[in-house]
Amino acid sequence: MRIMFIDDERRRMQLYVEELEDSGHEVVFEDDVDSALKSLGDPIERFDLIVLDISMARGTSFAFEDTLGGSRTGLAVYDKIRSVRPAIKVVAFTNVADRRVAERFQSEDRRFCRFVRKPETLPFQFAELVGKFLGGTE
């Protein structure tokens, strides 16, 4: 499966990316929100799942106020994703324990959205979770 991994801390995520690749997935890493949105807006680009960080640089696509200083950039990106890819599976993958962010994602349709916290999830666990989500068994 082809996965887009959107996170501005590429180095910090390398273990998670390696686990996904070792599980047989192709991972396209985007550490820039603008570039990620451009790819997602291109109908030729096929992705089966998006892993989406929440706290990250807002790029030029969003205002500071709309992303709460970058702490909720992922929320704004998610809304844009849904507008162009309404049925794509998304894993919101964050280190931020913001209750309101969690509630927002947890209220989404579970067929297409999951919320996972980085500190609580070891890389191999993350790969297993993604595998099950893609396979519809989790």
Partner: protein, 378 residues
């Protein structure tokens, strides 16, 4: 084998945690930096160390028992926390902005962490001195949100001292007497210029607000008389935090609203509109009064009746149009108190006159504004 590795990682993390706890005790300043192993003091090696720790935990638990997985996951969380704390508190120029921002955002929503004196001190430092303006603002935002959640401390913020009520009021009177006191310093579109003679004081006052020191109401008001765009942005963030976190300090919100009404600019205007849409009754009225002052160029201070302002550019016209649309929305929202909607309607009438006058002048001068662009506001 796995137990030994887990034990080693637990020991390293515990040492870091003890150092931080020690720093937060009276007389413990500097404990964290003193006791931290050299390998953790610079970002490059620190990141490698924590990545290796993550890899170790991952490998140990991959085929481990359930108990091992539980232990490894718990240590993983603690390691994550420790790394983020270090990325905030260490004055390490190598730490990239993305890592600092992630760390600030992690800490900012953790009530225990952000209450730590060590972390507060470092966040204040970042908010005031980091070279990246957006990172400064992010640190500031989290400080504001934390302060807005603190219970109101009666009297303790209003006392004497460098940033107390008496000194702030005295400064405010002095500054306002140095200019024409009527009308705001900024406009709907443009923030006031910072008063260069008092730039140092602007910084001091922002620092005091970041530490929740002194009488913050009077500090905000004094800032409005000497501050510029950065002060406007900071006070905008403070007001937004107060409202979104449902702070019970309504007085402070009213003072912030008044301050933004003086400073002006597009960010301040936007925040006043948002406050009009979502604040408490008293604060909404203050926001409306502020928007009236900005939209009428302060004429209400002179005549006690809002006179339509002269719109002098297409850019200004767009700002007035946007304000008019938002007022229209407020008037049509049944959850907004009736007296607020009534006052908003009055302001909208005044703005319509300004917009129509601009259109009329543009037509005379040969411009081509759409005649219908105001029809939706009727």
């Amino acid at each position: 084998m796995s137990a030994a590795k887990l034990k080693m990682i637990a020991k390293s993390l515990r040492e870091m945690e003890i150092s931080r706890e020690e720093h937060d005790q009276p007389g413990g300043e500097g404990a964290l930096e003193r006791r931290l192993p050299p390998s953790l003091k610079r970002w490059e090696r620190r990141t490698t160390a924590f990545l290796n720790m993550s890899a170790e935990l991952n490998n140990v638990s991959r085929n481990g028992s359930a108990a091992v997985v539980v232990s490894a996951t718990e240590l993983h969380e603690r390691a994550w926390k420790a790394e983020h704390i270090l990325n905030v508190v260490l004055d390490d120029v190598e730490t990239p902005i993305s890592a600092r921002r992630a760390a600030i955002n992690y800490i900012g929503v953790d009530e225990d962490l952000i209450a730590s004196p060590l972390i507060q001190e470092k966040l204040v430092h970042l908010a005031m001195h980091h070279p990246d303006p957006e990172l400064r603002r992010t640190a500031w935002l989290h400080l504001c949100r934390h302060h807005s959640q603190m219970p109101l401390l009666s009297g303790s913020r209003n006392g004497d001292g460098n940033f107390g009520r008496e000194r702030m009021r005295s400064l405010f009177k002095e500054f306002i007497s140095q200019r024409s006191p009527l009308g705001p310093r900024g406009t709907l579109l443009q923030s006031a210029e910072v008063n260069r003679e008092h730039e140092g004081l602007v910084s001091e006052l922002l620092g005091a607000l970041s530490r929740a020191e002194g009488d913050r109401k009077e500090i905000a008001l004094t800032l409005s008389e000497i501050g510029g765009e950065e002060a406007a942005l900071r006070l905008t963030d403070a007001l937004r935090s107060e409202i979104e976190e449902h702070s019970d300090d309504e007085d402070y919100q009213v003072y912030l609203t008044s301050s933004l009404s003086n400073l002006g600019g597009s960010a301040a205007t936007e925040e006043l509109i948002r406050t009009l849409e979502s604040g408490s009754g008293r604060v909404r009225l203050a926001a409306l009064s502020g928007l009236e002052s900005l939209a009428t160029a302060g004429s209400i201070a002179l005549t006690e009746y809002p006179e339509p302002a002269t719109i002098e550019s297409a850019e200004m016209r767009d700002a007035y149009l946007k304000l008019a649309e938002r007022l229209h929305g407020v008037i049509g929202t049944s959850t907004v108190p009736p007296f607020v909607r009534h006052k908003a309607d009055e302001l909208l009438d005044t703005i319509r006159i300004s917009l129509n006058s601009f259109e009329h002048r543009s037509n005379i001068l040969g411009g081509d504004p759409s005649k219908d662009q105001y029809s939706t506001l009727a």
